[in-house]
């Protein structure tokens, strides 16, 4: 396929690896922000091909993984109601709540539907006027434009039976939270290409300057990732800390302005809790007052579903902050598998634990394939 095959070319990858080897003079630790990048790195073995001096840490960019347990429990509560059709992106269905997940609600007769676009949920609401339709509005800046459009169009159509359970998160405050931690080891970031396709990259410029870290907007194919690593290492070796755009075929500095405008109209910045990490100020989106009537947490009484403790054995929070790697968990691959996950990082197609499970033969706290 055009714009894919050439970015998976082994010969080009070999030449980028040679360029990286010729560049590195000392140890460096980088973090790829997006879970999609983590999966590509593990799938193609990029972390193992890089020189020994280069360590890749895996970042928090997995929306499924960082959605708080309380929100999952609220989703389960809503989906269990006989008057509700609960709509969600597919990857949320197997995320463990305190007692069960959305898939088990569906299995026991709840009307839980997987949708590809949030507009599908709006259509379902139009077609089912005697039901309440709730859409689970999760994700980073990439899904916010679609979710904003769904709410905007529901309001435009005067749909009284549509609402959203919102758990939207934003990348830049999470980077600042990671960089502000005393245990932070990250010296450079590969920023999430598709988040920047929506938002542009100007908001990363003050972060790079304040924390003196290079931030390279990077794509998702092997050649993109190697190129991103190369640009980031080049900055580090030369003592620079700038924002660079590796993914210029998709990302412009200003991003998608119409999308940003509608997101701003529908959503405002709020403090959000991140699963396994905790509250980060200004790190999420919530519905603005003009759209508050579409907030499922206002429409339904969910006050009985409050914060609950995480499974004690799960280290997902530390994995999401780059403090530990998935295979360092004693439950990895034994008591925690994609079929029976303890934490969301083992479930999601963007979760770091799932990436290690799928692409690296590791068992019981030992990495076997190296």
């Amino acid at each position: 396929m055009k714009f894919i095959d050439e970015y998976r070319d082994p010969a080009a990858a070999g030449r980028w690896l040679a360029a990286i080897r010729g560049l590195v003079t000392r140890p460096w630790t980088l973090m790829e922000v997006c879970g999609g990048q983590t999966h590509a790195i593990l799938k193609y073995g990029i972390d193992e091909l890089l020189p020994r001096e280069v360590t890749l840490l895996h970042g928090p960019g997995c929306p499924v993984c960082v959605t708080p347990l309380e929100k999952i429990d609220r989703a389960v509560e809503l989906a269990s109601r006989s008057d509700v059709i609960f709509c969600s992106f597919g990857d949320m269905l197997r995320v463990p709540g305190t007692d069960r997940d959305l898939l088990s609600v569906k299995a026991s007769g709840g009307d839980v539907r997987i949708v590809y676009s949030p507009l599908d949920a709006v259509r379902i609401a139009t077609e089912n006027p005697d039901k309440q339709v709730v859409f689970f509005a999760v994700g980073f800046e990439t899904t916010a434009p679609g979710n904003a459009m769904a709410v905007y169009q529901a309001k435009r159509a005067g749909l009284g039976n549509f609402s959203v359970l919102v758990s939207h998160v934003l990348v830049p405050p999470a980077l600042e939270a990671i960089l502000g931690s005393p245990s932070c080891r990250v010296q450079g970031f590969l920023a999430a290409g598709h988040v920047c396709a929506v938002m542009g990259y100007s908001e990363y410029i003050p972060i790079a300057a304040r924390y003196k870290v290079p931030i390279v907007v990077t794509g998702f194919e092997p050649i993109d990732l190697l190129h991103g690593v190369f640009l980031c290492l080049k900055q580090l070796e030369e003592g620079r800390a700038e924002v660079e755009n590796q993914y210029a075929r998709v990302v412009s500095e200003l991003g998608n302005r119409p999308a940003q405008a509608l997101v701003r109209e529908v959503f405002g910045v709020v403090t959000r809790a991140w699963r396994g990490i905790g509250e980060i100020p200004g790190s999420g989106l919530g519905l603005n007052e003009a759209f508050a009537g579409f907030d499922a947490e206002r429409r339904f009484d969910l006050s009985a579903v409050g914060p609950r403790p995480e499974p004690a054995e799960c280290i997902a929070g530390q994995v999401l902050q780059g403090l530990r790697k998935p295979h360092e968990c004693q439950a990895f691959g034994t008591r925690c598998t994609p079929e029976h996950p303890l934490g969301a990082t083992m479930v999601s197609s963007e979760g770091a634990c799932a990436a290690y499970y799928q692409h690296r033969r590791v068992v019981g706290g030992q990495e076997g394939s190296r």
Binding site: S117, T143, V198, V250, L262
Partner: protein, 85 residues
């Protein structure tokens, strides 16, 4: 949720800017995509789609530049990454 591959616009339909739709092919798999956020695209353009919305158009000149940069670098360094002499 943030993963996406480029798709090619096969056709477009509708006049309402909020609901204009394109048929987009991803290696032969065709889906309907909302064009509200990319009003200026045309048939045969490649776009990045998230959750049913086209959010970015592929810049073909930029798509080639990474390989031009690599050629320059390889000429400078040699295939093994050591400076060419």
């Amino acid at each position: 949720m943030c993963l996406a591959v480029p798709g090619k616009i096969l056709s477009m339909s509708g006049d309402d800017p909020w609901t204009r739709t394109a048929k987009v092919s991803f290696g032969g798999v065709v889906i309907d995509v909302n064009l509200a956020y990319l009003p200026d695209v045309k048939v045969d353009d490649y776009v990045i789609v998230h959750a049913g919305f086209a959010l970015s158009q592929i810049d073909e000149a930029e798509a080639l530049r990474i390989f031009e940069d690599l050629s320059g670098l390889t000429a400078e360094l040699g295939e093994d990454g050591e400076p060419a002499v």
